[in-house]
């Protein structure tokens, strides 16, 4: 065993000196390899963390959202329906919501306008009774707030806007923002505050607006709301309550929380998958490069292997040397790529692929992800990068190792 360990040490020593002797070639390979790992790792870290982040936020979202559907189209929800829903056994509370999208032709962006929840820390009149935080209707104390207000007060004629909008329009607290109402009139709202950047994933394009102003802007009568949220006493009964709502109100469309989570999951899986498909071409190119590198041994390398075999190295010793060479390059590239990707995703906010992975309008959220990395991800990444490299180089290595030892005797030129 001692001999075996000593032998491996000699071979590793020799391999390291071999790598250093061909600095340019190996540094080039290492840089390319690291780049591939970095791209794949960044995509995986980002997709996984954003899904995790979204699921943590949505964990406290309403158990059921009920909308009204007319001929397959989302329609305004009559306030009368609320009583029908309240009468269903198992329903704890029903809250109405007013929200809508507003297209800003000036910057080509869509905003989401929302009246703050009634049982949040805002009163019905929109006057804040609390300092900073608006939590979603069913949030518990220890949950992450949906958005944060930095102490702003929402009064009639004012708005609180998301960070993305503030950046895009280059406006802030105290500025005015004009809106074209449903009847063609222009409404001017004063910016009362900007939402905290902590929750930008969900609040980048968000605007909080007073209920009265909202109705004036969209022309919605007091007998209608956009939709309602339903809280259920027993979580096991959510699906049953949803089906009862559907039965009593055939025009209603109940959406349960799990469905929203599934949608988020598939959106980010799709985005991550798309990135990986694009970059798989890069991985393939790298595999071809690795094959070429390993099979296209230079005359110098062939001569060196010939000398080693002539002086008494076995084919297996040469393969071991090449194995260590591959392992040193692979592991260095793997760990460097993973560390760089970690810094890229969790410290620099994925500056490289931000536009491809986040958001879907011109309002890209700007937020820091909480690091979520697990062993499964690292293993997948290992199999996506190190294994293809090893497989691509194994045949050429074997071919190189079987060079005849007498080739050194035939070599006559220096």
């Amino acid at each position: 065993m001692r001999h075996w360990i000593e032998k491996q040490r000699y071979i590793i020593d020799f391999t390291l000196s071999s790598l250093l002797r061909r600095k340019v070639k190996n540094v080039g390979l290492l840089a390319l390899y690291t780049l591939i790992v970095f791209i794949l790792a960044s995509t995986m870290f980002f997709t996984y963390s954003i899904k995790k982040e979204a699921s943590l936020i949505l964990k406290d979202s309403p158990e059921i959202v009920v909308q009204k559907i007319v001929a397959g189209r989302h329609d305004l929800f009559p306030v009368d329906y609320i009583n029908t829903i309240k009468k269903i056994r198992g329903v704890a509370s029903v809250e109405s919501r007013l929200w809508g999208y507003y297209y800003d032709g000036l910057v080509g962006a869509n905003y989401t306008l929302l009246t703050p929840p009634r049982n949040g820390r805002f009163t019905d009149t929109g006057k804040s009774t609390a300092k900073t935080t608006v939590v979603d209707s069913e949030s518990t104390d220890n949950s992450k707030p949906l958005f944060e207000l930095n102490g702003a007060v929402l009064e009639p004629g004012t708005l609180i806007i998301g960070n993305g909008i503030a950046r895009l329009r280059a406006i802030g607290t105290g500025d005015y923002m004009p809106f074209l109402a449903f009847d063609g009139n222009v409404l001017n709202f004063k910016i009362a505050g900007v939402l905290s950047s902590q929750s930008e994933l969900v609040s980048s394009d968000l605007m909080l607006i007073n209920e009265e102003d909202f109705r004036k802007l969209f022309g919605i009568d007091n007998s209608y709301v956009t939709d309602v949220t339903v809280a259920v006493n027993n979580p096991e009964e959510i699906a049953m309550v949803a089906s009862k709502i559907k039965k009593r109100l055939p025009q209603a469309r109940p959406i349960i929380r799990d469905e929203i989570l599934r949608t988020y999951d598939s959106i980010f899986n799709w985005r991550g998958g798309m990135m990986i498909v694009i970059f798989s071409a890069a991985v393939l190119a790298f595999v071809i490069f690795a094959w070429d590198k390993a099979s296209g041994l230079s005359a110098g390398e062939r001569r060196e292997i010939g000398i080693l075999k002539a002086v008494g190295w076995e084919t297996s010793d040469v393969i071991q040397m090449k194995f260590w060479e591959g392992a040193i390059i692979s592991l260095t590239a793997f760990f460097t790529g993973v560390i760089l990707a970690y810094i890229h995703v969790f410290f620099t906010g994925s500056i490289v692929f931000e536009p491809a992975l986040k958001g879907w309008s011109s309002l890209y959220p700007n937020f820091k992800l909480t690091p979520f990395v697990n062993l499964e991800q690292l293993t997948t990444l290992f199999f996506l990068t190190v294994v293809p490299y090893t497989v691509a180089t194994i045949v050429p290595i074997w071919r190189a190792a079987t060079i005849d030892p007498d080739s050194a005797m035939r070599f006559t030129g220096e």
């Binding site: 001692r2 001999h3 075996w4 360990i5 000593e6 032998k7 040490r9 000699y10 071979i11 020799f14 000196s17 250093l20 002797r21 110098g300 001569r303 060196e304 000398i307 080693l308 075999k309 002539a310 002086v311 008494g312 190295w313 076995e314 084919t315 297996s316 010793d317 005849d404 030892p405 007498d406 050194a408 005797m409 035939r410 070599f411 006559t412 030129g413 220096e414």
Partner: protein
Amino acid sequence: MIELVNVKKVFNAGNPSEFSALNSVNLLIEENQVTVLKGPSGSGKTTLLSIIGCMSRPSAGRVKLQGREITSLPERFLTDIRRKTFGFIFQQPNLIKGISVLDNVMLPAYPLGEKRVHLKNKAMKGLAALNIANKAASKVEWLSGGEAQRTSIVRALINDPYIIIADEPTAHLDTKLSYRFMEIIETFKAEGKTVIITSHDPLVYESSMVDRVVNLRDGQIEV
């Protein structure tokens, strides 16, 4: 004792470019003797040497080392025999560039996993014996032709082989260095080693220390 029985070596067998390098060679090489394989270029000297040194296999015939048939041994065993029995000195020093003289000398012993301190001592002793210990840390590309040749000789001796094989060792040396090389060969003989040299240099095959000269022509031994 090395015995070759009816040894043939054919290159590119079955191809239009088929070439027979050795034809029915029968040879007996005695221990503790200096044997020179002499012949013009293309006579099969190097091919014969590589078969004797277990670097390649004959196409037909048998090779016996100390009475043991080695032709049919698997590569692993053949390598083991090559490593422990033979020390090779090539026409060119065939040193690996970019690493030191000491590392080059220790290279054949790496697969044996000998303790580093012992191996280093052995290598330094070998370098000192050939007056190049002061070059141990130098890179091989900085050596003169004579120093490179001596380094390759120390490398050939690192595993303490009892047969030294040298292929055209003086081909790239001037007269003075060639004489120096033959002096070193004399010390090997004095130590009881068997030496087999291929050469067409009169300075080698006419040397007084040579016990036997075998003439080769067109892949056959001339009687």
